[in-house]
Structures are given as structure tokens and as C-alpha cells.
Symmetry: C2
Subunit: 516 residues, 2 copies
């Protein structure tokens, strides 16, 4: 559609505007006039170069005050939609026409954001598409079996709020600004003591970098220490969040199998630049990496000149012997970056984690982090320092250890009939989830599908593998729901498993011919 001829167009536009402005609507009239005119100029409905009526005439025809009209016109001139020529008047500017801007899209009919063509639907990058492969659908809601979700109902909210309030009150003004200290010093000190005593991490407080969650730690490490195309060894099966970060950094992911001694570094693996491990409590298989494997891994890292990212995400919760010492504490070569999170002991919405860095990486990591992600949340960090130093942290860990032990027991109890029937469960010596190993992928898929119907989200183990088909199973978080909820959902799962086994047994017994 061509722009309307100058005079007719103007008259129609003024009429339409007068009607629009007469309607009850929110916003000042000058603003509404500005928007109405702008949309029409932008849509190409007014011919470039047309002379606008005088502000006096416009005011009269639109039943507006002259100042109202002037304010709108001035804004349009300032933005370049109108032009004034001294002694001649105000004109519609001659604007380049936009591809995709339809003259028909006036203010009334234009959608809030015009949907672009189908081209955009496939316009994600390849890495973006791969990234989404690790991202749960937007319809996935946290539920009774969500892995890694702590007991939010048992978190000492009142105490925590009291600490936050106190530190809000005390916060120096500096803390509101840009910081590049690696985090609040008191938090790094409290954390250093905790890590040394409870995790055998060897470090000084200066080596600790506070980040906004473990994910940010992975991101920082991947980008400061690798280039696109470099290789990272990831555990198979392993943690999707870390894999997403490495994909995002443009790395090649090499799956390295985990057996019952942990990551198995066989000869002939392509040389890595980075190695991601969860030695204390492998995610999701629950294996604790043996000392021999740990030393072999350190040796491999040394040989390849690679960095090790030790992800110690939930080993605070150990139900058997004391926590195993961190890999970082065995490392004499300065090759291990130890990543921890407060999401499990406190709560995920907190968005605080930390990286213990080898000495030589302290300055580069701190600077790159301040540039890429900025530091912040100093008040919360300060409150957390007190939470740790005053012993609330250890106390909460101990309480949650008891709570999670009970919740795990309740899950085992609920699944006991299936276990008697042959369902295999992981050891559950630590952490916040169990793995139920299944016999085949059909059972895995069937259980997940039945879960969807029941509103019970189940995490299929096979999706934790990079190389299909992966081992079938379910990763069952048990920390985030009450014992009653766990008993109910566990009972449901047990019945479904038994029913599926029954169906399959009947099919198997009647032979393939029966299906035809």
C-alpha cells in the first residue's frame, strides 16, 4: 500500500486521532498524540515531505490544548519523525522504509511485538540449540523427586531473616557499588575454615572467589582457561548444568565413563584442556572416587597440562563415615579448581557459590569475574559469613543430615516391595538423591510418561548420558519433600514399577506371537 496523498491522509489521520484521543485511556494526552502520530509516520501512512497543519489548527481539530500539541510535536521533531524548516512549517520526515514494516500496521492493529517470519523460529545458533538440549522444558516444575532440591520448609527462615536485617542495617555504602575483592572478606575467611576442617581443602581465604552460584564458577573457568574447540572430559553419566556451561563456552565434550570406583581414565582418550569431576559423590551415580583413581586423575591432568574442576555439590550430607577429603587437598600441582555451592545447604534461590583457586589463578579469575559477571550481594554474603562463623551453618547441616537420612529411609520403605521384586537402588551413603536402576529404556519411558499424567516429575537417568542410549533408570531426589509426600509418591512409583513388570511378564510369557 502506497502512502496516502498528502492532504487526504492528513485529514483522515487527524480524524482518527481525534476519535482515539476522545476515548477514555490511560496516559497523558500529549503522550497519546505523540504515539498516534509516530506510529502512523513509522508505518508509512503519511507521505514524507507533507506539511503538517499548524499546531493551532491541530489543537482545534483534536480538541486539545495547544501546549499539549506542541509537546507532542517537539518530541517527534527531537526524535526525527518530523522536521521543521524555518519559516515554512513542520514536515513529515523522509525516513528510510523498513523491511517488515507494513503500512497497514497502524497503532490500533499493530501487535505489541510483531511476530517475525518463520525464519526466526530456527534462528538459534547451533550451540544455542545444543544448550536447550540440556534445559528442562518450561513446563517442568519442581516436585517431590526433583534432584538437588533441599528441604526448604526446614530452612531456619526467621534466623536467616534476622541476620539479613542486621547486615542490611550495617552495610557500608561501598557495598552498593562495583566491587572486585572476590567477595566479602569475612565470608571468605569463614568459608576457608569450614573447608579446611570439614573438606580437607588446602587454601588461604584469598584463594576463595565468591560467585553467584556454582554455574557461574563453571562459566568463568571454562572461559578463562579454554578456547572454543578445546576438549573437556565430562563424567558419563554426568551433570547437565556443567555440560550446558561447557557447550556455551564452545568446548568439545568427551564423555569419560564412571564405574564403581569413579571416573575411569583409560589410555587413548583424546587430550583434554579441562576435566569435570564430582569425586566426593558422583552425580548422579553416587559413586565415591577411590584414592587410586584420584591420584591417577591428578597424574593425567598433570600429563595433559589440563585443569580439573572438582564439583563438590552435596557431600556435606554423608550418612556413613566422615566426608572423604577433597581432591583439591591431594593436589600439589595447582591444577584443581574446587567449586562449591550454597544452594544445597541453604537454598538455591540464594545464588551464592564459590571457587577455591590455585594461587596463580586468583588474580586473573577475580578480574575476569568482576568484568564478566560483576560482584554483588555483599549484604547477603556478610550475613552468610555470620551464619557460618556463629555455627548455624554446621548446625543446619547436621539437622538436614538427619532429616535427609529419614526421608531417604522413607523412600526406601515405600519402594521396598519393588526392591524385593528386583528393583535395584543406589547405596545412598550421601547426598540428596537415589538412583533406581531399571532393566530397559521402555520401562524408563513408561514410568516417566505415567509420572507426567500424575503430576510427578521423574528424571530419566538416560538423559544424564552424552552418548545414547545411556543406562536406563530414575534419579530420585528425596530431600525437598516431606516424608508423607515421599511415602505417597514412592508408593505410587512402586506400584507402577510392579504393574509394568507384571505386564511385561505376561507379554514375555505369552511369547511374541501373542502381540500380533
Amino acid at each position: 500500500m502506497e502512502p496516502l496523498s498528502s492532504q487526504a491522509a492528513l485529514d483522515w489521520v487527524i480524524d482518527a486521532l481525534a476519535m482515539e484521543l476522545a476515548e477514555a485511556a490511560s496516559g497523558p494526552l500529549s503522550r497519546r498524540l505523540y504515539l498516534g502520530l509516530r506510529e502512523r509516520i513509522q508505518a508509512g501512512r503519511l507521505a514524507p515531505g507533507s506539511l503538517l497543519p499548524s499546531s493551532r489548527r491541530l489543537a482545534r481539530e483534536l480538541c486539545l490544548g495547544r501546549n499539549t500539541v506542541l509537546a507532542a510535536l517537539e518530541q517527534l521533531v527531537a526524535e526525527g519523525f518530523l522536521e521543521t524548516r524555518p519559516g515554512a512549517g513542520t514536515f513529515i520526515a523522509d525516513l528510510p522504509r523498513l523491511a517488515g514494516s507494513s503500512p497497514a500496521s497502524g497503532l490500533a492493529s499493530a501487535p505489541a511485538c510483531a511476530a517475525p517470519g518463520t525464519a526466526t523460529a530456527v534462528a538459534l545458533s547451533s550451540r544455542g540449540t545444543r544448550l536447550l538440549g540440556y534445559s528442562p522444558g518450561s513446563n517442568v516444575r519442581p516436585g517431590v523427586f526433583t534432584p538437588g532440591l533441599p528441604a526448604l520448609d526446614r530452612f531456619p527462615q526467621a534466623l536467616w531473616q534476622r541476620l539479613i536485617r542486621r547486615h542490611l542495617h550495617r552495610a557500608p555504602t561501598d557495598w552498593l557499588g562495583y566491587q572486585a575483592q572476590g567477595g566479602v572478606p569475612a565470608l571468605r575467611e569463614a568459608l576457608c575454615d569450614y573447608l579446611r576442617l570439614s573438606r580437607s581443602v588446602r587454601c588461604r581465604p584469598e584463594q576463595i572467589l565468591i560467585v553467584q552460584g556454582a554455574q557461574q564458577g563453571f562459566e568463568l573457568i571454562a572461559r578463562l582457561l579454554t578456547d572454543p574447540g578445546d576438549r573437556v572430559w565430562v563424567e558419563e553419566p554426568g551433570y547437565g548444568g556443567a555440560k550446558a556451561c561447557f557447550e556455551a563456552a564452545g568446548l568439545e565434550l568427551s564423555p569419560v565413563p564412571v564405574d564403581d570406583e569413579g571416573l575411569r581414565v583409560a589410555a587413548g582418550l583424546p587430550a583434554p584442556r579441562l576435566i569435570q569431576v564430582t569425586p566426593s559423590h558422583q552425580y548422579p551415580s553416587e559413586v565415591t572416587m577411590t584414592l587410586g583413581r584420584r591420584l591417577a586423575l591428578l597424574e593425567a591432568a598433570e600429563r595433559h597440562g589440563a585443569w580439573i574442576v572438582e564439583d563438590d555439590y552435596d557431600s556435606e550430607f554423608r550418612y556413613g563415615q566422615r566426608p572423604i577429603a577433597a581432591l583439591q587437598g591431594l593436589d600439589n600441582g595447582g591444577r584443581v579448581l574446587y567449586v562449591g555451592t550454597f544452594s544445597k545447604v541453604l537454598y538455591p534461590g540464594l545464588r551464592l557459590g564459590y571457587v577455591v583457586l590455585p594461587e596463580l589463578l586468583v588474580d586473573p579469575c577475580r578480574r575476569a569475574n568482576a568484568r564478566l559477571h560483576r560482584e554483588g550481594q555483599y549484604v547477603v554474603q556478610s550475613a552468610l559469613a555470620e551464619f557460618i562463623a556463629a555455627g548455624h551453618f554446621s548446625r543446619h547441616v547436621r539437622r538436614m543430615r538427619d532429616c535427609y537420612r529419614d526421608r531417604q529411609a522413607r523412600l526406601r520403605e515405600a519402594l521396598a516391595p519393588a526392591v524385593s521384586g528386583g528393583l535395584e537402588l543406589s547405596e545412598g551413603q550421601a547426598g540428596m538423591h537415589l538412583v533406581a536402576w531399571l532393566d530397559d529404556h521402555a520401562t524408563e519411558a513408561a514410568l516417566v510418561a505415567r509420572g507426567v499424567d500424575q503430576g510427578i516429575g521423574l528424571s530419566p537417568l538416560s538423559t544424564y548420558y552424552l552418548t545414547p542410549p545411556g543406562r536406563p533408570g530414575l534419579v530420585l531426589g528425596y530431600a525437598g519433600a516431606s516424608e508423607a509426600e515421599i511415602a505417597r509418591a514412592g508408593g505410587w512409583l512402586c506400584r507402577e514399577w510392579l504393574a509394568l513388570r507384571e505386564e511385561r511378564g505376561v507379554r514375555d510369557a505369552s511369547g511374541p506371537g501373542a502381540r500380533a
Copy 2:
């Protein structure tokens, strides 16, 4: 050094441990014994396969209770440093020897984290090294001229704390957990109204994604929409923070010059996948992009199938006419991603920003963000929603606009003698900084160096350019310091500039021969 022969080594180790344990030190004795033995086994000072004395004998020789000794030995067995053979006793395990683990590094002498060889000093990736090129040194502290630092002393702390307290109290337990809603709905609604009315952004609340600062928005966009090696157009001169994100994403950065109409998209530029612009108030040159250039840019993006990242970082503070409408509001093709931040209007330590997304990117961006960065800080988001909806936000913007206008005036006043002498300042129609254009790089370098001596950090304009040498000048933030501080520092800068001109004048007048 070879491991000591079994019996002698054990005796010496036990003697040394007895002495160590007799000293006053913190930590339970069993822990200290465990650490002492572990360090020595790990350092290779005890021959693999050596039989350990019985726990009874160890207890006696170390003057410890037998349970204390047993606890330490059990932990070492659990971790694989010792092995028990039924009926035979407890032995030192045969561990792989580690490269870099020196037998000499016993507990007493080992540094907290052994410094690795010089290899590590250069082990950053190429992109890591480039990243650090955009990162200020760790000795750089925020000061009177720090660009982008708001008036923290004028922030309504008491009111803000009251809101935080109220929302802390009200927070549903869910908010502590993992979320993937794109942010607190109330905040997205309040923000949507604000952006529509004050920035002419066209959107629905669902299109807004709350992120932990604008940087996180850039990161998300770069990784979801580009692949390593893709090209991004960046403004020349332009913002280092965005450039750092693009480097981190493995992109090729193409500098596109900015003139007094904004980004100049000339023919022959290599095709981009992403375009980064600050059209409302170019950073750092202060140019407002003209409407013609805006439309040309949208057209170029459409032609190349590229995405535009509109970074609208401080245009709330406009001292002349009303804020210019956002580029996003002109876009009918769904190609503009509008990124904003609360760091300038509230404070940088808050770590909250937002991206207004084209409809088709809402779901992928929300999912990728939840996976890569996680969502959080829902209490703060909720408080911020009330801060905006109750009008505190607009009120604070208006107050700060007056405050910054005054601070800018004070800086101009302080620099007036230099301006009379020929120093050129940018227009200062908006924002929180001025640019002082300088005649040559020697003057820029000399002023920066003299600033270091005075503890006054100066941002050299030339470092905002990708292609050396860049135009010489200084980027002078004026929002974060009191008028008195600005007057003092501005006065100092003025004197230095005049003095340098004097020196140069003398040198020029006396000719090159005078220098020999």
C-alpha cells in the same frame, strides 16, 4: 628422595607426630593425627606396604586415647591411604606417585597451595588473555571519576531496607527453590508499564526476562544466538563489558565507527550475526543515534538476518528533552533485544537487570537462562516491584536527575579555565559522565599517570577503542561523588591540563632542538 626404609621411617614419623600433637593447636587430636599421617603417606615418606604399628602401640607412643587413634586410622582406611588385611594388620597403601608431589613436602613445610611451575603462569586460554585485556587491574578502586557509578550516598537506603524486610517476611517458600519463570511476575509487570511509558518499548510482561545484571543478558544472548567464530558489530568507541562478553563467547568483534549521528553502518562491512548498540546515549561518546541511522540499522539487521542488542544503560537521566524512544519500539521485525539494568538507578551491587525479548525468543531464553545462570533473588525482585509500582523508582530517578545535573555543572565549573583554554567537553545532555576530548595520546597518558600519583583514577578514552590508537580523551564519571569531591578533583584535573599545555607550548615554541 626415596621413601625411608619401613621401620626407621615409621619410628621417625611417630616421633614427629608425637611432638606435633603435643603442641597446642586447634582441632581435635584425631583430626590432627589423621592429617599428619595423610600428609606423610601422600608425600611418599612412608614406603607402600609397610605395616603400621597396632593402634594400641600408636596410642601409647603418641600419648593419645586408643579411640582417638582408631578414628584417625578408620578415616585413612576409608579414603584409601591405609589398607587392612584381615588377620595381618594395617598397611600403608601402594599409591601411584604424583608428578609434582615432592617427598620433602611434609605437613610442616608444605605451602597452603603449592605454587605450580611457570607453565601455569601462561596457561590462560587466548580468549582468557583477551578477556583480561578488558578487565581493570585488581588495584583499580572506584573513585570520584568512575564512569557509571551512581550516587550511592543519595540512595534511599532506609526505605529500601524497609521494603526488603517486608518482602523477606512475606516470601513464599517456593521462592527459595529453583525457578524458571523469567523473574517475579509483579516485577515484570511493573517494569513493563515503566518501559512502555517512559521508553516507548513495546512489550508484554511475559517478554521480560529478569537477569542478574545486564552482563548476564549479553552473555545469554551471545550464546543462544551465536556460534564461536560468528561476527558481532560493536561500537567504536564502545563499552568494554559487552566486548568482554562477546570475546568470552568466542565471537569475532568488528568495530563500527560512531560519528555525531551514532553508529555509521557503511557498505562493505562484514556480515554480522549480532549488533551491539547504545542508541539512546552512546557509551562513551554521548551521541544520540538519529532516527535515520536507527532505521538504517534495523534495515541492515533485517538484511543480514542479525540480532540487535540495544543496551539502554542510563538514559533515565536526561537533562534536555524527553528521553528518545527506544530502538526496540521501532522494530517491527522482532530483531531487537532490549537490555536494561538497575545498577544505575538503584545500585550496582544489586545485580539485577532485564532483557525485553522478541516473542519467539521468550521460551528459549528463559530456559537457557534457567539452565546456565539459574534464577534467584526473588525477595529482592519482589521488593523492587513494589519500589517501582509505588512510584519510588520514578521519584528517585527525578531526584537523581537533579542531583546529577548539579554534579555535572560542578564538574564543568571546575574545568571552565581549561575549557576557555581549548579543552573540549562532550554535551552532557544525558547520563552520568562527560568526555573530555584531548589533542594527543601523550596528554592522555600523562594525565592518567598523574592521576595514579594522586589516587584519582582516570579512564582513558583510547582504551574504549578496539583498533589502536583510538581517539585520546578522558571519560569522566560525575554521578558517584559529592559536589565537593568533584570540585576538588575537577580543579586538580584542570590545573594538570593547563600545566601540560604550558609545558608542551614551551617545548613546541623552543623547537625540537631544545630537547636534545
